[in-house]
Symmetry: C2
Subunit: 226 residues, 2 copies
DNA sequence: CTACGACATCTTGCATGCAAAAATGTCATC
DNA sequence: GATGACATTTTTGCATGCAAGATGTCGTAG
């Protein structure tokens, strides 16, 4: 009778939602790798549920693009081409750029000081070379910017798209010098924000994100010697 | 045994997908109005299906934000506050602005001439005051720009967000002078594209979208004398 | 007349059942 | 050894069943 979700958080939360969240997390973190088949019965057994909530979860994941449904032929973790990944990175870069521009003009002093705090704390993380901690910080940093746009719809969209790249970003950030550069780029963005120059912050953010993408591309090409 | 989907397109398409598409269309066009309850059994009867595919469709619509699921209390068509609508408009405006900037720099001559053709044809539509035709043209115009970014992921996101505003845009465009102004704004955007000035095209597109939003806001405030 | 609560009804959430399509395996033929 | 027809197994797509939670009604107490 034991299953992974048995003592999960809230009993009022729907089973299908918990399964969806669990799978989304596994896909985002890369524990479920691209192309992996998601057998309904197998997942149902794994989560101690029936196929119905599993199916609902899979259909929902398909809408957010994390899995691919091939009618009557099963569901697989979304398999993305390098081109598509680069497209996603460019999109995220542009959205981050526009978020930071709006945020620069709209953030409250409180939001600004919170962002500075976050950024300052990241120095210690970089020094320790703690990839997981930097990952968490990075997410917090970018989400703080999204929220500072004072446009919650935009923030939601940004978070959704950003999170779809999590799996790739993790791989890419596991390089020490990239961690260093990432923080330096954040520093430059912070400066532009401090000066109230949204356009400059925007350009720097775009460059920051595209640098990350380029680092990733190199990483992919290096590890896949076709 | 008659139901609305009986002679629908492709027999290989999943029932749940057809139901989802049908509902998405009804919500986008406003035939199903915000706040309307979506009873599973009722919809199942309406589509000549059982509750299972209906439930799958509803859950998927919830992910794309068209409906709201209140656990154990049913599903309703997403009810949006004026603030949220304005947020959505701003988001769309910014995304359109970035799309047209990228498109200006990347579109092929073929894409450019296609866009010009579309724009030219819209003059007759405005003269006739054919709202539905202009609606269709407008969609085609904007989607042509999305595609011209040569970033299909971005284009998909843009289409998804744009379509969520369809219901509101329709209401807003049913004013003759707005139709006229809309075309004039397109004209200005086309000019910037022709000059290869992506930044200018971007600013004009943002203004164009925000004008539409402002027109809508007036419309809403006028029709809701609280 | 309002507030409260027991009861009845309706709806949802999930499990299970079943038919059809797809995948897989078997075996004969070339 | 490769190929293809056919049987078997597996898996999906959808229908149905049932229990628990939500909602509505009505009677009674205050």
């Amino acid at each position: 009778m034991t299953n992974e979700l048995e003592d999960a958080a809230d009993d009022r939360e729907l089973l299908s939602d918990r399964i969806r969240n669990a799978l989304a997390d596994e896909i985002a973190t890369g524990r479920l790798e691209a192309g992996a088949a998601l057998d309904e019965q197998h997942l149902a057994d794994r989560f101690g549920a029936s196929r119905t909530p599993v199916r609902e979860a899979l259909r929902q994941l398909a809408v957010s693009g994390l899995v691919e449904v091939r009618p009557r032929r099963g569901v697989v973790v979304a398999r993305m081409t390098p081109e598509r990944i680069m497209e996603m990175f460019e999109t995220v870069a542009e959205i981050e750029a526009l978020c930071v521009r709006l945020a620069t003009y709209r953030m409250t002093p409180l939001e600004r000081s919170h962002l500075i705090e976050l950024h300052d704390a990241s120095e210690a993380i970089v020094r320790k070379g703690d990839f997981d901690a930097y990952d968490a910080f990075n997410r917090a940093f970018h989400e703080a910017i999204y929220r500072a746009t004072h446009n919650s719809f935009l923030a939601e969209q940004a978070i959704a798209i950003h999170s779809r790249l999590t799996a790739f970003r993790r791989a890419q950030l596991r390089q020490h010098e990239r961690l260093d550069r990432s923080r330096a780029e954040h520093e430059a963005i912070m400066q532009a924000i401090a000066e109230g120059d949204g356009e400059l912050a925007s350009r720097r953010m775009r460059a920051h994100m595209l640098n990350a993408a380029t680092a990733l591309r190199r990483f992919i090409e290096a590890s896949k010697p076709v």
